[in-house]
Each structure stands twice: as structure tokens, then as C-alpha cells.
Point group: C2
Chain length 223, copies 2
DNA sequence: TTTTGTGAAGCGATTCACAGCA
DNA sequence: TGCTGTGAATCGCTTCACAAAA
């Protein structure tokens, strides 16, 4: 426990970001009754370098067998443990627009150990509507509903203008981390973890590469 | 033109990824009639280091005035130019599930110079339905509809199992770049640029940080 | 022999610190 | 004086190359 704490601090963010993809590949192998895998094979499937894969896993511990490879079940167990997948995490989605609704019915969340505990909005027209079996509630209710703190994650799927106020609500409701889809830099107190996903930023990056193609650059596509 | 080609090759991917956020901040300042900004101010607003901001901009050219700062209008023009925002880019969305529909009606795309040219699926139940003013068509029609090559970007919003086949269709339809929401590593020929966005990966990364908190780690939240 | 785990080298991005200008 | 633009220093991640182990 003490030892794991020390180790967690040392895992590079880039490694953490790759773990979910490793996990997904491994689960797909498990489904196909493959029980052992080498760093070469798994790296090829995930599009990485074998040395990088081994180094990534070495941050978590030593699970391989030299001359053989990794046991698929064991690796799934270990990566899952480090990603905190032992327990189902409750998520609150704020914003009952198209994106919020899509996220609410997204199967991928459930499969990875996340459960949508509620969907919230401020628009009277949206409140009360049924979305994927959940009733849209007013954001102000979240604070009261989460007195136990069981909802640890908030997803912001509101327009940019409402994002900061939404973040404030989520922080008041004792949410510990936020996934932000609004194209705004959020200010939250220390101890609340924010990750940003911006859909149009991704398109704009693609736009840069298209413009580069138009200037006759063919090399290294997208990054 | 020749010179710009050389420069484009030298811009780090990390810089490109930050440009859209700079642009957005600048546009918000322009709306508020602010016409000049220092690297300190813009860095603060975007959550970056002033030196990094200046270095990022220096890859594009020299637009600042020493002792004063940057002209907001000029900077917007320049960043827009490098991101290829001069022309509206046509996008095809594949997958008419919740996510595909949400993307189809997403205002952020239009505002940033992208236009949804069509939405496609393979499910007979979905085909023919109306989504945000567009009729869902069969994916096989895309190839014929894009003989002119005006659709440069494809968005994959299908289930993971269908993603590779969808990518193949998009490549056949002469799409030049792909934004992939399926949690799968796509194999496409050289010259086609792929960017991956995985919503549950983001939650899993948050899961790692929540697990770290449970182990008593308070430092550096999310990355 | 095969494949892991890892020190060391290599590489790219960030940050510093200051010269160059307005 | 104030702020940009940038070489130099630093930091952290990736990749190499090989010793260790099955």
C-alpha cells in the first residue's frame, strides 16, 4: 500500500494514457481465448514500440515471464487495479443537449466500470425529460443528491458560456474530478482533477494537416 | 509558399494542438473589443507558460511588438491561416447512433469552419431518417457522392467492431483524414491522417487519478 | 533460444534567462 | 521601461541495446 503510493507518483502521465488501450486489446484477446501475449504482439496491436510497452508495464510491476511473455488474465487484473477499475464509479452528466444525451446512452462507459448516476441541466424545457431511463434534473439538485459523495465524476456537456458555472456547481457538490467537453479553461480549486476533451480542436488539428498537404507536405501524417 | 512549406514541417505537434485554444481565447477577446494582448495575459487565460506561448507563436512567424504585445486581430488571422481555416472543410459522419447524431448537430463544428456534408450508416432502420436536416444514407453511397473529393474528413462514430470496415470505406471514398471515436487502432494507407478520440479512455484516466487519491496521493492532479 | 526488464543514450518539448527592440 | 523572440539549459519520454531469466 505504502509501496504502491510511491509507485503511483512515478508513473508518467503518458503511460497512464496508454493503459486503457492496452487493457482493451487484452480484453479482446481474452474473449478470443488467447491466454499469453508477448510485448511485440501487444505493441503491434496497439501501434506502439515493444520497448515502450515493456517500460510502461514495468512501472506497474513485473508480471512477465522471460522467454514467454505476459499472461493475459494477470495483465488485465493488474492494469485494471492500477486504473482503479475495482469499483464502479458514479458519473453525473451536466447538459442535456445532444452531446449529454449521447454520453448518457453510451455503452462504452458501463462496460468500463462507470455508471451514469444522473443527468442535469438548467433549462426548464429539458428538466423532467426522460433520457436513457433517467429523468433530467435541475443542476441545483445535484448538491443535495450527492451528500454521500458517491458521485465522484462530473461531465460537463454544456455550452462554453455555462461551463465555468457548471464546474462551480460540480465542485460544490463534492465531485472529485471533471471531464470537460466545453472549449474553456476551467478554474477549480486544487484537488479537483480536470480533463478536457474538445471535439472541434481535434478537427482543427486535422485542418492543419490538410492545409499542410495543400502546401505539398506529404510526410508524417497527423500526430 | 515555399518558405511556409519548410516552416510547417518544423512546427511541433504539441504546438499545433495548442493553437486552437489560443485562437478561441483570442476570438473571445475580439468579441469583447480587446485589441492587444501580451504573452503573459494569453498564457494565463489558456493555462500555459508565457515563454511557451511566445515560442509557439514564433514557429508561425513574428507578429508581436516588443514592449507592447500582440495585435488580437492579426494573431487571429495568422493562427487561422496556419490551421487552414481559410476554407470551409466538408465532413462526413459515419454512424447514426447517439454520438453520430450529437456530432451532426454540434454547433462548434460550424463555427470553426467545418460543415457536415452527410451522415451515413449501414443499418436499414437508420437509413432514410432525418438528422439535423440531413437524411441518413448508406455508407456505400459516400464513395459515389465524393467523386469530386470535396469531403476531406471522415468521422467514425460506429461501434468498435465496424470501425475498421468504415475506415476502409472512407479511404475508398478518397477522404484524406479521419477522426476516430471507436476504441480501435485503425489501419489505413499512408497519406491518410487518423486522430483518435476515446471517451471512455478519458474516464479511465480519471479513474487512475481517483484511485491514486484513495492511496493518499494529493499532488499533481490530472495531466 | 526467446523474451522480459532496465540502464543509458537519444530526442523532443518546456522553461529559463537575456539580448534585441519599441 | 516593458515585452517579444530565441539560444541554452533542463526535463521527461522514447528508443536502444543488452544482461538476466526461463
Amino acid at each position: 500500500m505504502k509501496e504502491e503510493k510511491v509507485k503511483r507518483d512515478k508513473i508518467p502521465p503518458t503511460t497512464v494514457a496508454r493503459l486503457p488501450l492496452y487493457l482493451r486489446c487484452l480484453q479482446s484477446m481474452q474473449d478470443r481465448r488467447i491466454d499469453s501475449v508477448s510485448s511485440f504482439k501487444l505493441a503491434q496491436l496497439t501501434g506502439h514500440n515493444p520497448a515502450q510497452l515493456r517500460k510502461d508495464l514495468s512501472y506497474l510491476g513485473e508480471f512477465g515471464t522471460r522467454g514467454v511473455g505476459y499472461d493475459v488474465d494477470e495483465l488485465i487484473r493488474q492494469i485494471g487495479k492500477w486504473l482503479g477499475a475495482a469499483k464502479v464509479r458514479q458519473v453525473a452528466i451536466v447538459g442535456a443537449g445532444h452531446l449529454g444525451r449521447a454520453l448518457c446512452s453510451y455503452k462504452g462507459f458501463i462496460n468500463r466500470g462507470f455508471s451514469v448516476a444522473g443527468i442535469y441541466d438548467v433549462d426548464p424545457a429539458a428538466i423532467g425529460q426522460q433520457v436513457a431511463g433517467l429523468k433530467v434534473r435541475h443542476i441545483d439538485e445535484l448538491e443535495r443528491q450527492n451528500l454521500s459523495g458517491s458521485i465522484e465524476i462530473g461531465i460537463i456537456a454544456t455550452p462554453a458560456a455555462a461551463a465555468q458555472a457548471t464546474a462551480d456547481s460540480l465542485v460544490r457538490a463534492r465531485v472529485r474530478s471533471i471531464l470537460n467537453f466545453a472549449p474553456v479553461k476551467l478554474n477549480v480549486g486544487a484537488g479537483v482533477c480536470v480533463r478536457n476533451v474538445d471535439l472541434s480542436t481535434e478537427l482543427q488539428i486535422i485542418g492543419f494537416h490538410l492545409a499542410s498537404l495543400e502546401h505539398g507536405i506529404t510526410s508524417d501524417c497527423c500526430s
